[in-house]
Amino acid sequence: MIKCRSRLLAAVGGLGVLVACTGSGEAPQEGSGYGLGRPATEAQVKAWDIDVSPTGEGLPPGRGTVEEGGKVFAAKCASCHGPTGLEGPADRLVGGRGTLATAKPIKTVGSYWPYATTLYDYIHRAMPYNTPQSLKPDEVYAVVAWILHRNGIIPEDAVMDATTLPGVQMPNRKGFLPDSRPDVKGE
């Protein structure tokens, strides 16, 4: 029992977690695990490892301009988000700066999103809604550039790629705080 518990604590070390351990010694020996699963191949990891972090980790090679992005947006995005990203019916993407503390906040990429890299991640993984993951990296960079430019965040001649995108400063970068609940005292 003592041996079992110390092994579990070592395995999840640093997390301050106690895992209940009972039974009669039928659990696997230290270091061997249950022997389930198989090693992931490089190709398997590469195929699914699509997330992009705020540091830019995960951004693929490729590049896109505002002008190219305008064409991609018109062809693939405007039917849901409107010709200029304002009209909907899907989420409004442009404008809304200065509205977050008002009675009618408008949450857009320009007014609300804290990281430009999230745009790449999300557009690539989930858009267009009817054909997700269909855009090539150059198309994603381009449409990201167009949306950022429409929000007045990058100039019209900017080029977005794995180097420039993580450096884009979003207006609402400081607009978030961690959870501070419980915050309301009941009677």
């Binding site: 699963g37 398997q44 999230t118 961690p178 501070s180 005292k185 009941g186």
Partner: protein, 396 residues
């Protein structure tokens, strides 16, 4: 009852008793005296009685549980609320894989068969959408308990402990966050801090004794008891261990809670204590005399320790009886006997959890959070009983 069985029953019934009548156009025919007619034969997969009509209320990307029609604490799987971000995928369990990589000793893939061979864990737990009751911030909008509170459900969930599987891949000491990713058309992702979830998180493959329903993540979902539903990633295909949150769309622009000063709260995972009277509730009709007031209470921080009920708009509160079992992070059924004498009444419930947290009034909640938070509305719900016995949503 299958169509074939129904026909057999009908033929037999007609042979014995000529008169058959249906309660409503959609109800099945029933014999006058079921003791004089052979019943239906066994069936491979059961269905509820044909007279039962309760259904979920579907929107475009969610559906609401009919809380006002349910009993006890378990939600039938077919009535468990839904929320998805680009539809319910069809996934062949034989081809499904869970990939675990990042800050681990050995990146590995697991088949569903692998995951089912690990030591299993079962527990009851509620799952509530962060946006449950979101329509109630500004006005009494929902007409029924289904519309006001129907994005919460309870199931018995079975799977393997996350800690067990992470041990198998060898968690690195610097791993503090985990990206969970779904295999749906949104490739839905959330970043999960490891320390608070390691002793309870499950990778689930079963719900109420059978495989997960497609809407609840078949064949595999994450369960983080007490945390908002969107973090309990469904159709789970990937866990990536890292040392910081990944800042996906869902935890930056989406499931964040905007406060009156324009600053948003982020990573607001816990669903705080909440309760609702499910009967009598909006849309129902009271008859004078004895009424058992029934409802559900729950807390993402542990057990419900007390539920109080008021029938006069919050002036007098009396303690309701809690139906066993009272389980942590699980719906708890409460009951309160009442005599309705035909006068106007305002019915309210207020719960307290094991941390001492008391469900707030609407006024107190809005005083702190304003109207733009969207998520995590857990204020006391009021139902107004009119003199004619009709019940409606009312904000006190």
């Amino acid at each position: 009852m299958t169509a074939a069985a129904s026909l057999v029953g009908m033929a037999a019934a007609q042979a014995v008793i000529p008169s058959l009548h249906a309660e409503t156009p959609s109800s099945p025919p029933a014999p006058d005296d079921p003791t004089r007619v052979p019943g239906a034969p066994p069936t491979p997969y059961g269905q509820r009685a044909g007279f039962e009509q309760a259904t979920r209320l579907p929107g475009t990307s969610h559906s609401l549980t009919p809380l006002q029609t349910l009993h006890g604490i378990v939600t039938p799987a077919a009535l468990h609320f839904e929320r998805h971000h680009n539809g319910v995928p069809t996934i062949d369990p034989a081809r499904h894989r869970l990939l675990i990589h990042g800050l681990v000793g050995r990146s590995r893939t697991f088949t569903m068969d692998d995951l089912k061979r690990f030591p299993a864990v079962s527990r009851l737990a509620f799952i509530e959408c962060a946006g449950n009751s979101a329509g109630e911030w500004r006005e009494a909008r929902g007409q029924t308990a289904q519309q006001t509170h129907g994005l919460t459900s309870t199931s018995e969930w079975t799977g393997v402990a996350l800690a067990t599987v992470l041990r198998e891949v060898g968690l690195k000491l610097e791993a503090t966050w985990m990206l969970a990713e779904g295999s749906d058309a949104a490739a839905m992702t959330r970043s999960i801090p490891l320390a608070p979830v390691m002793d309870e998180a499950l990778l689930c493959y079963a719900q109420n004794g059978e495989a997960l329903r497609p809407e609840q993540g078949y064949p595999l979902r994450l369960l983080l008891p007490g945390w908002e539903g969107n973090a309990c990633i469904k159709w789970l295909r990937r866990l990536k261990l890292g040392n910081a949150p990944f800042m996906t769309r869902e935890e930056t622009s989406h499931y964040t809670d905007l406060m009156p000063n324009g600053i948003a709260r982020q990573f607001t995972f816990v669903m705080e204590a909440k309760s609702v009277i499910t009967a009598p509730s909006g849309g129902q009709q009271l008859r004078a005399g004895f009424v058992e007031i029934r409802g559900l209470a729950w807390s993402g921080r542990g057990r419900v320790t007390k539920v109080e009920v008021s029938t006069d708009g919050g002036r007098i509160w009396r303690v309701a009886r809690l139906q066993e079992p009272v389980l942590p992070k699980c719906h708890t059924r409460f009951r309160f006997p009442w005599q309705w004498k035909g006068r106007e009444a305002i019915l309210m419930s207020r719960c307290t959890d094991e941390t001492g947290y008391v469900q707030p009034s609407r006024e107190d909640l809005i005083a702190v959070r304003g109207f733009n938070s969207v998520y995590h509305y857990n204020a006391i719900q009021s139902w107004k009983v009119a003199r004619d016995g009709s019940v409606s949503n009312d904000q006190v």
